[in-house]
Amino acid sequence: MTRRLFASLLLVLTLAPGAAARQPSQPPQRQDEFVPLSELPPEERLPSAPLLVAAYAFVWLALGGYVLSVARRLTSVQKEVERLDADVRRGTRA
């Protein structure tokens, strides 16, 4: 009984997508009117300004952050060079 039920379920699952595919596809609905962009509901509008501001803000922040990171790394390495230079000089004097 269970096996027969499983076989029928498998048959339905196998044939269903094919049957659905054979259904004639619905033609796209004809457009009866043109809607001005300003009359679109707010959730369907995609404003350009936030995307533009986000792009420029990202570029400035990324470049500024990178310049700061290089400057900080350079300062710390230069300090280390000065410290080691002093140690080497002290070592050679002794």
Binding site: A55, F58, A62, V70, L74, D85
Partner: protein
Amino acid sequence: MPRWFFPASVVCFLMFVASPVLIANAPYEATMGLVQKIFYYHVPSAMTFFVAAFVCGVNSWRYLFGKSAQADRVAAAAAELAVVFGAITLVTGPLWARKSWGVWWQWDVRLTSSLMMWMIFVAYLLVRKYGGAGSEKLAAGLALFGMANVPFVYISVNVWRTIHPTTNVVPTLPVSMGGPFWFCLAAFLLLFVLLLQLRVQLERQRARVDALYLALED
């Protein structure tokens, strides 16, 4: 630091400050409108990404086959810049695409190959940082693959079918759009040269630290 570094930094800063004014005055593109203005930073950053990849590849070649330590420093500096400018390209592109294509990302050949190229340079930096002794040579090999990707990424839009604009857009820009574009490209390339100089200086100082530690041990 060379004598030209400070005046060139001032010029570059002023160029970046002036660029939004030029971009704001450039005309709107007919089909994309305001969002198309991302183009003025997106394309120059992509071109700088290509230049950085090329500089890294050429210097990695010089390091591998000419054993030049200076070339290795330049390659490491250029790889980091390739990652920075590549990240800018890969972030600004989807922000533009969301409005003009209706999707953030499309797995087409230009976008996918750009992402792969960027990942090669991320891998370069990771190999150098965590690869242990001898990782510079392994990373240099990776950089050659990264450089080989540059022409492939560039021509991909002309050879394969893709929704990304072709390379014909830039040469056919009208003066009103071309002016701000070439100005921004000059600003990005100048910034690249300055950052490369700064970053190579950092590598030079690191090499000096290593030499001083060895001197102390002796």
